[in-house]
């Protein structure tokens, strides 16, 4: 039996009995993904597009109801562009770049998260998480129709696993009873309370913040601005914070800080919530409650994201507070990082050691997210009188002096991680090259003649970018073919982001669009060496 743990918004992968369930010996799969949330589905899509057979097991038959994530960052959209479904998300989503912070009723400052031109994607879109997941699953269906070897099994629950020498043995429960399969690699994308983690007896250490927040997603006709608006000490929630954010379908996310000692039952009462909402938006605006919940949060991480043949990605590996929108956005960077590594190792193009760099790079990324998220939480939820003292001092100073603005922390919104110091990077060999395209960084987008740069490197494989130096169409390194893109650039945005003071440059680009190395001109030997480094050799 597989009891539902939550309601589904869309039923996308109904249970169906498969041959594996009747097999006399467990069938072997190259990659099994536990959990079909955004992270698991993103990984399946990425692997499937690369031709790597993968099987997703989810214990429900569709996307969970209720909105959790709404803010999807530019980098996530770029990853989804590479996967083929970025456009659908942007079409459906609400585009925004601006955040405003108020104290009481006065605006204290605003910030633009993308204060420059020349990017295909905006800083953020707001989109209900169920839609985001639906887009991923629809794209998987489209790829399956073209022959991508992805399989999704709904109402298949992981109930046991055992690491063997060359595989993982997995026990799965279904409406027709349990069965077993084997996986060469298992990726746990089974969320913050990861059963995989528990079955393996692994820890998830971190901090719980003593605060409650109420989410009210409401539907209304109103012309509030398409901005992230955040209040400290507003008249409708004195001494606490509040947030207002637009979503598609005339839905708005309202978020109220409640404090620690609350009567949960009283707070979740619809009448009480309605009166809170009315106090915030004004008495004359009609609205209906679409979704409400009270959440607390913690920042936690596993110590190791790789355990032999088992990998952890998304919330199963790390959890953050929602204020920086770093949860799902961080998880999408996990799969962006893991998919190509698994594919190369499974295809025999790289050694197993490449997979260690998944932990190295993504733990580094998660630490950054947790650091940012914890600092925001400490600002919003002061833990002692000294914290309150300094928080109030900052908010007061802001009204008098500009210097204090950057100290106000209502959320440091998700930015992509630069893998500084990663063992996959080659030494920076471009004198006076721009910081933002140094080895380890995700490629900054830039306008080029026929559109945007990232669309031209969205190949999901290693490639070479040359600016002001003519590269051949391909460069052959042993058995790997590197497609080359040659561009001209002079004193334009591309030059500013990729050349700096250099006249020309050559970049080795990883399948996840991170820069592995850069040089002033093509040097095949250096390129070959960098390719080896970037694929886990030395």
């Amino acid at each position: 039996m597989v009891q539902a743990r939550y309601q589904t918004a869309f039923r996308l992968y109904p249970y169906a009995k498969v041959a594996d369930q009747a097999a006399s010996t467990p069938r072997r799969h190259p990659v099994v993904i536990i959990g079909g949330g955004p992270v698991g589905m993103g990984l399946a899509l990425d692997l499937g597009k690369k031709g790597i057979p993968c099987l997703v097991l989810d214990d429900h038959d569709g996307v969970g109801m209720g909105s959790r994530a709404i803010c999807f960052a530019k980098r996530t959209l770029e990853i989804c562009d590479r996967l083929g479904c970025g456009e659908q998300m942007v079409q459906k989503g609400v585009v925004w770049n601006l955040g405003r912070v108020y104290r009481g009723e006065r605006e204290v400052y605003h910030f633009n998260l993308l204060p420059e031109e020349g990017h295909k994607r905006p800083a953020f879109i707001n989109l209900q998480q169920p839609y985001f997941e639906q887009c991923l699953v629809e794209e998987i269906r489209a790829e399956q129709a073209k022959g991508a070897p992805v399989e999704i099994r709904g109402k298949n629950r992981l109930i046991g696993l055992e690491q063997k020498d060359d595989h993982v043995l997995i026990q799965v429960d279904t409406p027709d009873g349990p069965y077993e399969i084997e996986a060469e690699y298992l990726v746990a994308c089974d969320g913050a309370s990861s059963p995989t983690r528990d079955l393996m007896g692994l820890g998830f250490d971190g901090r719980t913040f003593e605060d409650n927040f109420l989410i009210a997603d409401i539907k209304m006709k109103a012309d509030f601005p398409t901005e992230r608006r955040f209040w400290f000490d507003p008249p409708f929630n004195r001494g606490k914070t509040a947030l207002m954010h637009k979503q598609p379908d005339r839905v708005w996310r309202l978020d109220f800080q409640l404090g620690w000692d609350i009567d949960r039952a009283a707070e979740i009462d619809p009448d009480k919530i309605k009166s809170r909402v009315a106090a915030m938006i004004g008495k004359d605006i009609d609205f209906e409650l679409v979704w409400t919940s009270i959440y607390t949060f913690r920042c936690a991480s596993m110590e190791q994201y790789r355990h032999d043949r088992v990998f952890f990605a998304g919330d199963s590996a790390h959890q953050v507070s929602p204020f920086g929108a770093r949860g799902c956005n961080g998880g999408m960077q996990d799969i962006d990082n893991l998919a190509w590594k698994l594919a190369m190792v499974i295809n025999g193009q790289a050694d197993d050691s490449l997979l260690d760099s998944y932990h190295e790079e993504r733990k580094y990324g998660a630490d950054e997210n947790i650091r940012n998220s914890s600092r925001t939480a400490d600002f919003l939820t002061p833990r002692n009188p000294a914290h309150v003292l300094f928080r109030d001092a900052v908010l007061d100073l802001v009204e008098h002096y500009e210097f204090a603005l950057p100290l106000v922390n209502s959320g440091r919104l998700s930015t992509p991680c630069t893998y500084d110091g990663s063992s996959l990077n080659s030494m920076d060999a471009l004198p006076n090259g721009p910081m933002r395209s140094r080895p380890g960084s995700p490629m900054p987008d830039a306008p080029i003649e026929d559109g945007y740069l990232l669309d031209y490197v969205a190949t999901g494989r290693f490639s070479v970018l040359g600016i002001n130096c003519d590269l051949p169409e391909h460069i052959q390194l042993k058995s790997y073919t590197l497609p080359c893109l040659s561009l001209r650039s002079e004193r334009d945005v591309l030059a500013e982001r990729y050349l700096g003071e250099a006249q020309s440059a050559v970049f080795l680009i990883r399948p996840d669009q991170h820069i592995a190395g850069r040089w002033p001109e093509l040097n095949t030997l250096a390129l070959e060496h960098a390719f080896e480094t970037a694929t886990g050799g030395s």
């Binding site: 003292l389 900052v394 100073l397 210097f403």
Partner: protein, 67 residues
């Protein structure tokens, strides 16, 4: 190498100290704390350098520990 200057450095030692005391005159406890918090943030911003600020935090904490 320590960057934080822990040698005498004030242009007008007694004048500064007098001003510091005067700023606190007549304040209630809560306001004393509030004033100092603002002062710290203003001075920290002026210094700007993270290394120096970290050293200053450690130096202050060390001077608080008594045996």
């Amino acid at each position: 190498m320590s960057k934080l200057n822990l040698s005498p450095n004030l242009e007008d030692t007694d004048g500064f100290y007098e001003g510091l005391l005067n700023a606190h005159n007549g304040l209630k406890d809560a306001d004393i704390h509030a004033l100092n918090a603002r002062l710290i943030l203003i001075l920290a911003n002026h210094i700007g350098e993270q290394d120096i600020l970290e050293e200053a935090l450690s130096a202050a904490s060390a001077a608080l520990k008594r045996d």
